[in-house]
Symmetry: C2
Subunit: 198 residues, 2 copies
DNA sequence: ATTTTTATGACGACTGGTCTATATAAAATA
DNA sequence: TATTTTATATAGACCAGTCGTCATAAAAAT
């Protein structure tokens, strides 16, 4: 019992250290990119000793990128699910999705859009393993959205096709919104997607 | 006369060195990102001595990024203009645009999409001057596209709005195409934009 | 008490961007 | 033509910072 308690506490501590690191990495990678963030910066940002990294991520920096992608896959996947559950129409679903990203943009002073796209552009061509993780992540999100589209009466093939199209438009809007420091592109994309997805 | 010739040759040589550097930087930044490409790599890729960089780009690496953005602004701007001139309908205009990017993707084994987006994500939040250049670049492209839309009978406000929407969809499609190493997202975006832009 | 797991930070080999000092070529002047 | 002045180009030193390793410490389990 005593041993059990300690075991779980220890394990939990280790887990929080690891997930704390991923959270910080997700934040910094988004703002500055993968290559521009050093391990030292990562550690000091979380008051963690440097050696910890190679305990939790034996393969080094690339391992962190993968963990970030997995984490984003889950988090945003959950966001999509919640947006779907809270919506009773296609329009409100799209609105809810856009709303989530808009909030992140504003709260981060337009430094944080999609946590994966920076990694995608920097690494997908260079690091096959990370590229695969990103590809899977994007596919997951699209599939979740498509599920919702189907729930609103769309046939499956069309749903997948339009989920991909919506994904592209959103992803592009996030880049533009960041460079312009404005929600306007996001708003317009929401409007046009609402119009088009029928 | 002799002196004149030498003067222009010298100047031209300097210009080619500089533009050679920008071209190489544009290529490498696209594939690996800004921070991941070192000045050493840039030089050796073009058989240029390292010291030259700070003659042509006194403010250092950031200056190179700005030159790349300006160059991309012109080159792709020209591409948009040509696509417009060669098209007699909205559909063929969009097809021509997509075609250009598709070619780049395939020829680079899906390593080169938009030469600016990587810089946008890495730097727009960190380096104000580069951010401004990127913002202007994007605005320029959208305005060129909107001009074409107007030429095909669209009213101006709608043209600007839809040019932005198209830009977002395309930009997103380029990211997805790179991660999937497939032209499919680009094809679908072309199809849906053709459908929607009326 | 001994072994296993978890955690740590100093260290090294190396690369990063930047800058100053120097060399080469062209123009200008005498 | 000879010589000075200017523009263009290059080389290499510099230090801060990079990632990754490893010998060890602390904690837990046996």
């Amino acid at each position: 019992m005593n041993t059990n308690e300690n075991a779980t506490r220890r394990k939990r501590k280790g887990e929080t250290t690891k997930s704390k690191l991923t959270a910080i990495a997700m934040d910094l990678f988004q703002r500055k990119g993968f290559a521009a963030v050093g391990l030292n910066e990562l550690c000091s940002a979380g008051d963690l000793p440097k050696g910890s990294i190679y305990y939790h991520f034996p393969k080094g920096k690339n391992d962190i990128a993968i963990a970030v992608v997995e984490q984003a896959k889950q988090e945003i996947g959950e966001g999509i699910r919640q947006a779907g559950a809270a919506s009773d129409s296609l329009d409100s679903f799209i609105a809810a999705l856009v709303q989530g990203f808009a909030q992140n943009l504003v709260q981060s002073d337009y430094e944080k859009g999609c946590p994966v796209s920076t990694l995608a552009l920097e690494l997908s061509a260079q690091e096959a393993e990370i590229g695969a993780a990103i590809s899977a992540c994007y596919a997951h999100w699209q599939s979740l959205a498509a599920d919702r589209f189907v729930a609103f009466g769309m046939d499956e093939q069309k749903a997948n096709d339009l989920a991909q199209f919506s994904f592209c438009a959103l992803e592009g809007a996030l880049i533009l919104a960041r460079t312009q420091k404005s929600l306007h592109p996001l708003d317009r994309v929401q409007h046009h997607l609402s119009n088009y997805l029928k």
